[in-house]
Each structure stands twice: as C-alpha cells, then as structure tokens.
C-alpha cells in the first residue's frame, strides 16, 4: 500500500492523536523501516508518522534512582553520554559493535527496542540491567503513560507488546547498586556490520567473591532476547569457584533454544554459550 498521509508532529500529544486512528507506521531513524519496506517484508501503512521532531522523546536524564533515556537517543549519542558510560558501561560497549558509524548516527534506541530483533545489540545489556520501557497513548483525550519491564515487552522476532496507539517514549534503567560488575560479549564473525551469532550481558553484585542480584541476558539464542534464569539460579548467593563456574556454563548451554541459520548452527551456538559464559565468569572471579 502506498502512503496516503504523512505527519511529522512536534509534540507527543499530536503524534498520539494520529496513532489513535490506527493503520500507521512509526518512523524514527528509518534504518529498519527503510530496508524492511523496500524489500516488501513490512510494507508501509497508510499513514507514516515521523516522530523525529518530538523534543519530548530526546535527552538522557538522571531522575531519582534511574536514568531515563529518550526513545530518539541515537546509538552514537548513547555511547558518548557520561551518565551511560558511568552507570551502564556494558550498554555503551554494545554500541561499539553495532553496525557502522553511519548507522549508529541514525539508528535510535527506541527503534532498536521496537524492532525487537532476537539479535538487537542494545537489548542484551538493557535486559541484564533491569530496563523498563515507558509507553504513552491517548485513548480518551488525555495522554496516559505506563511502564513494562523490557523482558515482557519483547515477545518474538519483530514482535512486542506495544498496543496499536502506543508510542515508546523512553527506556528507564535503575542506577546500579554499589559493587555491581557488568560484562558484555558479542560474538560475530567480523567486527563490523555483522549480526550477532550470540550476545551475552551480565550484571551482578560481587561481595567477597559471592555473587548476588545476578542478571544474565542472552541474544540470538531464542525468538526474543532472553533472561538466563536457570544460570542465574546456579550463581545466586554462591561463592564463585571453578566448579560453580562450570555448572553455570552448563546451565547456559542447556537453557538456550537457538536455531541454525547462516550465522551459526544450533550446536555451535550452544558451545559458544558454554564457553563464553565460562570465560566471562572467570574474568569476574579474577577481577
């Protein structure tokens, strides 16, 4: 279908009004929308809503005990931001392995979340860091917002729990507790413009060799980014020892549900999970 209406609202309120009518494609940086519409995979709908002029969706701010990242924040802006670099080094690091500079300058965090790729690079650290998404809609004449944990927002490849009239306005991540360690690893066959074969994010509080508040997030090993809850359970509250690390690596190997595709086979992805979880935990143990 060709686009019949185009809007580039300056205010959230106007955008939500347009979205309420339905049958609309939301456009942010366009780095997914353009190739997906050109190839016919996801044709543009009757209405195209360009959200890039909405100031309410920009900026990164510290509010109470969390950092609120506007949906329009580009990958480049996120990587250069002091709050992100200080509190969420693994999120900044995930940008390092993201596509190319030209795409990082255009692609937004909100777009990365809503595109819901099982290999979305920023999703892995954000899930490990307990991110929640803030959604806005205007169902009965006034703007209403609510939040959902990122983990339940992402459902499957390209699928989220976003309702039709909703716009993702921000991603909120709690400021890490004292003593938190963070690790991120993306495995691809080349350093740039490559989609992850697997990606792993780890956040945990380390006190005297014991891990608590353990969060593991896995990318590209299931239909959506997943929490490694079985591996977390192996580690939670325990002292890191070579035996425990091996047990955790085995749990990671067993709990993922990868597919075989051009990037890697199911078997290979499981082997990577085992070996890289092990390597990350040894690194946490030693530092």
């Amino acid at each position: 279908m060709t686009v019949e209406h185009y809007y580039a609202p300056k205010h959230l309120d106007e955008a939500l009004e347009v979205l309420r009518a339905g049958n609309a494609t939301i456009l942010a940086g366009g780095t997914d929308v353009m190739p997906q519409s050109e190839s016919g995979k996801t044709p543009l709908r009757k209405t195209l809503v360009n959200i890039r002029r909405i100031a309410e969706l920009t900026g990164i701010r510290l509010a109470k005990n969390e950092v609120r990242i506007g949906a329009l924040t580009t990958i480049s802006e996120m990587m250069a931001n002091d709050l992100i670099r200080k509190h969420f080094p693994i999120l900044a690091e995930s940008g390092d392995h993201f596509a190319s500079e030209q795409i990082r300058n255009a692609g937004t965090l909100g777009g990365n979340v809503c595109n819901a790729s099982p290999a979305g690079d920023t999703l892995v650290p954000m899930l490990a860091l307990d991110a929640v998404v803030e959604l806005a809609a205007k169902p009965n004449g006034s703007v209403e917002t609510h939040t959902t944990p990122l983990g339940s927002f992402l459902v499957g490849p390209g699928k989220t729990r976003r309702a039709q009239g909703e716009l993702l306005v921000a991603i909120r991540i709690p400021v890490p507790p004292a003593g938190q360690v963070q690790r991120f690893f993306k495995f691809g066959t080349r350093p740039a413009l490559d989609i992850s074969a697997i990606a792993i994010g780890l956040a945990a509080v380390k006190t005297k060799g014991v891990l608590s508040h353990v969060r593991l997030a896995y990318g590209a090993v299931a239909p959506a980014i997943m929490r490694g809850s079985k591996t977390e359970a192996v580690l939670e509250g325990k002292r890191l020892t070579p035996e425990l690390i091996e047990q955790a690596a085995q749990a990671a190997h067993d709990e993922v549900k990868p597919i075989s595709d051009v990037r890697a086979s199911d078997w290979y992805r499981r082997e990577l999970m085992h070996n890289i979880v092990k390597r990350m935990l040894i690194d946490v143990h030693e530092h």
Partner: protein
C-alpha cells in the same frame, strides 16, 4: 496514488524546496530530483556506504534516510564536502596516495573521512580511521591506500 510532500532544506549551503513521495529515500531525491549524482547507489541497504552524506553534520547512509525527514535540515553531499577545508584535503590526499581505482566507493569515503577529520582533528590515527570506515566498502583497493590517504589528510589538519 501517493501524495507528494513539500519539504525545505539546504544542500551544500543552498536552500531548496522540493515535493517528494513519502516513500522516497534521500539518496533518490538527491540523484533524481535535485540532480546531484556524486552520492552513489551501491547496495541500497546500509551495507556499503557509497551513499554517505552529512545531515546536520552527522554522517549517515542516505539510502536509509527518508527524503521527507530532510525537512528543515542541513545536507552536505560530496559536492559540498570538497569545498570545505577537510574535504578538500581528503580529495587531494586520495589522488596523491592513489586511493582511487574504479572510484565508485570514493565519494562515500571522502564524505566519511572528512567527517572523521572534523570530529577527531589531527588526533585521528589509523586505528580510529579503520573503525570509522567500517561502514564503507571498497572492492578494488584493499583499503591500504585509503587509510594512508586519510591519515595524511588528518596530519595536515595540525
């Protein structure tokens, strides 16, 4: 039937007003509506960088950018970049170093290289250059002379 949308922006310093279909890419608009053909169509999907332009000073793939999103922005294409000091030095350095073979990738590299020099100045080292041109593909040169040319142009920025 698609409706055309009227947009205004500047390209290489000159104000323009054009009417474009909402589906059109900025790359198609530049080449077919405005007639600036220095920006190349390589892959059309963000992989090759031949279509790199600057939008409000940031380098982006014009094949992934919707033309309608150019409204109110400042666009710089390779034709404009080489009129700026960094771009002119990059162009001359590419010629000097022999960093051009078929030349198809060259406009994209020149724009991206000028952007890297504007961002990093004379601190731009070969490692940063290699990371910075990860989004530009060249099927001919093997990149060595391209990196040499950009390094030389960056050194002149001192």
């Amino acid at each position: 039937m698609s409706t055309n949308i009227e947009i205004r922006f500047t390209v290489n310093g000159s104000p323009r007003t054009v009417a474009v279909p909402p589906e059109m890419s900025a790359l198609n608009m530049l080449r077919e509506v405005i007639g600036l053909t220095g920006t190349k169509y390589g892959c059309g999907e963000g992989e090759c960088g031949a279509c790199t332009i600057l939008v409000d000073g940031m380098s982006v793939n014009s094949c992934l950018l919707f033309a309608v999103d150019c409204d109110g922005r400042k666009l710089t294409t390779v034709e404009g970049v080489v009129n700026e000091p960094a771009g002119a030095r990059v162009r001359d350095a590419f010629v000097q170093a022999g960093a051009v073979q078929c030349g198809f990738c060259t406009p994209g590299f020149v724009v991206q290289a000028a952007h890297l020099i504007d961002t990093h100045g004379s601190k731009l080292d070969p490692e940063t250059i290699k990371r910075g041109i990860e989004g530009n593909l060249c099927r001919c040169t093997g990149y060595k002379k391209i990196v040499e040319a950009i390094t030389a142009a960056a050194q002149e920025a001192r």
